[in-house]
Amino acid sequence: MVQYLVRRLLWAFVLFLAVTVVTFVIFYVIPANPAQLVAGKSATQEDIDRAEKFLGTDKPVYVQYIRFLNRLSPFGRIETAPGDYGGWGFKEPSLGTSFATRQEVNDVVFRAAPVTASLVFGGAILWMLISVPIGVFSALRPRSLLDRAAMVFVLIGISAHPVWIGLILAYVFGYKLGWFPITGYCDMINPGTDCGGPVDWAWHLMLPWTAFAILFAAQYVRMIRANTMETLNEDYVRTARAKGAPEGQVLRSHVLRNSLLVIVTMLGMDIALALGGAIFTESVFGLPGLGKTALESINAFDLPITMGIVVFATLAIIVFNLIVDLVYAAIDPRIRLN
């Protein structure tokens, strides 16, 4: 197991390097100069050169990349001023400073991440609450009214675009009925400003959660239904019935646990991917999450912020991969004992 973890972490590191290199290269080949944007429209060539030097974009891409890695590493050369390096030592890992706003990228990411996390985890709970019962019941009663209705839902959920779903929800429940706010985000813990606390938080997120969950719920209903139907046909389910187990016990102990095994993997992957930014939902509902921030930073050619979000998303995927593996091993003895 330890050996397995070590191997996973090594691979995660390789993955991390690959993703960041690719992002750097993409930025490099885009024909835009962030220094020009920073220096302003009427800047002289001299201004631009100074801005370039200040941002570090005057250096070749590999130097920029090494600098980026150095900033990110908890041990390395300490940067005394932009582009000037002192001795080696331990330091705070940093994602750098925004080109456009000069904000610390760490702060930007840590401000946006809770918003996205709220959206994603709340959405995941919602879509599991919808899809597990519907999926299981339609598997138990194929072709029943409920099953057919569920299949219509799946069809709509899978084919509808999240932006469209979001706009419809915002129009009906936000604008027409006025039940929920259409935009904005309230912090769950800190009631510093005009809104805050768990109630406001949940109230503001209700529509985003729903919009975000529908697409996944549809996919999950389909998966859970298929898996459960397959498990119901397994020989060991017949064995359980032949033992005289009541249907409820058969379902609990022999069907659900086995059929939801695959869902664990799927859930972990989907959450990890979404943590990198639920771009559509965040944009529609004006949530200041990672997706919206990433979108804005790309538009502004603000490499450090884009990079910061890529790093965060990659870490999320790596961590969740590991969690999925551990959970899987915990619930499936075939994995655990081999």
Binding site: D235, R238, A242, K243, G244, R257, D332, R334
Partner: protein, 342 residues
């Protein structure tokens, strides 16, 4: 009174292509402590028959009729809750593939304990002790250490032993074994058959063994029912079926077996394929493949009728008895040429 008396059992499944009459009027009985072999090729309805008796078919697509009287009660018409009490307690079942018949995510101990607790009001501790005893009885080496292992940690033969332990843990009156050795190697098969015979002797359990293997039937069964296309073609004691078979399908089966003990140049083969049960042939269902077919076979369904001077031996064929006796003798002489026991 027999332990289980099945009369005119019919089972059909609704499928997308139409109604499949998987079992069509099957009757048989089994006495206490005896072994009945139900033999036939795939799709003949031998498994479905016993799954119907146990109430284990998919209820949504199945219609069944007939009677299955077990110890005075009809299993087919009783309430599901009552049938559940009988399943696993009075009637137990083991299946063909020991690889897939145990739940991979639960330890075998847990699965055995579940079987005890479902039918006995005992503590988990007592149930676990019984589970351990059962594992010892079926010959799992170091059972006390292996009880918490998971199915994938056992070989196929050992898993089938665990299945047998689980089936016999509540001391049932009847054990239904559906192809219990088909997935196993021949030496493992011998072990399992020996174990089943031993347990039958110790507990007085009646066994219904469903198999396609005539060799297995000859070895373990007291009585045999040969099924073809959802009907019983012939039934009787094991000796009468193997020594005086009276149905052309039984001849075909026996003739098509390659045998260790004889040098046959060619096997007698039954031409064609078993019929589709969506649309079975009229009259005798075997007539399109039968070498002895007469006009009557194409229209009239033969009834299961006793053979003269052997009332327990019944067969469903329009041929006259003289021909049957002659053909049976000829077949026996051919297949047994030069045979001796080894």
């Amino acid at each position: 009174m027999p332990l289980l008396q099945v009369t005119e059992l019919r089972t059909s499944f609704r499928t997308d292509d139409g109604v499949v009459k998987a079992v069509d009027g099957v009757s048989f009985s089994i006495e206490k402590g005896k072994t009945l072999g139900i033999v036939g090729e795939s799709g003949c309805g031998k498994s479905v028959t016993m799954l119907t008796v146990m109430g284990l078919n998919n209820r949504r697509i199945t219609t069944s009729s007939g009677e299955a009287i077990f110890k005075g009660d009809d299993l087919l018409s009783m309430k599901p809750a009552r049938l559940r009490e009988i399943r696993g307690d009075d009637i137990a079942m083991i299946f063909q593939d020991p690889m897939t018949s145990l739940n991979p995510v639960h330890s075998i101990g847990k699965q055995l304990v579940e079987a005890v607790l479902l039918h006995n009001d005992v503590t988990k501790k007592v149930a676990r002790e019984r589970a351990l005893e059962a594992l010892v009885e079926v010959g799992i080496p170091r059972a006390d250490r292996r009880i918490d292992d998971y199915p994938h940690q056992f070989s196929g033969g050992m898993r089938q032993r665990v299945m047998i332990a689980m089936a016999l843990i509540n001391d049932p009156d009847l054990l239904i074994a559906d192809e219990p050795t088909t997935a196993l190697d021949v030496t493992t098969q011998a072990q399992i058959l020996k174990l089943m015979a031993q347990l039958q002797e110790d507990h007085g359990t009646a066994i219904v063994i469903i198999t396609h293997d005539l060799g297995v039937v000859a070895e373990v069964a007291d009585d045999v029912a040969v099924m073809y296309a959802g009907k019983v073609a012939e039934e009787g004691t094991v000796d009468s079926i193997f020594n005086r078979p009276h149905h052309p399908y039984t001849w075909g089966l026996l003739g098509s077996l390659p045998r260790l003990e004889t040098d046959l140049e060619r096997l007698a083969q039954i031409p064609g394929q078993p019929p589709s049960l969506l649309n079975p042939p009229p009259g005798c269902r075997f007539h399109p493949r039968c070498a002895y077919v007469m006009d009557v076979c194409k229209t009239k369904v033969p009834e299961l009728a006793p053979v003269s001077n052997d009332p327990l031996h019944r067969q469903a064929c329009h041929l006259d008895e003289e021909t049957k006796d002659r053909e049976a003798a000829r077949l026996l002489a051919e297949t047994m040429a030069g045979a001796s026991a080894s």
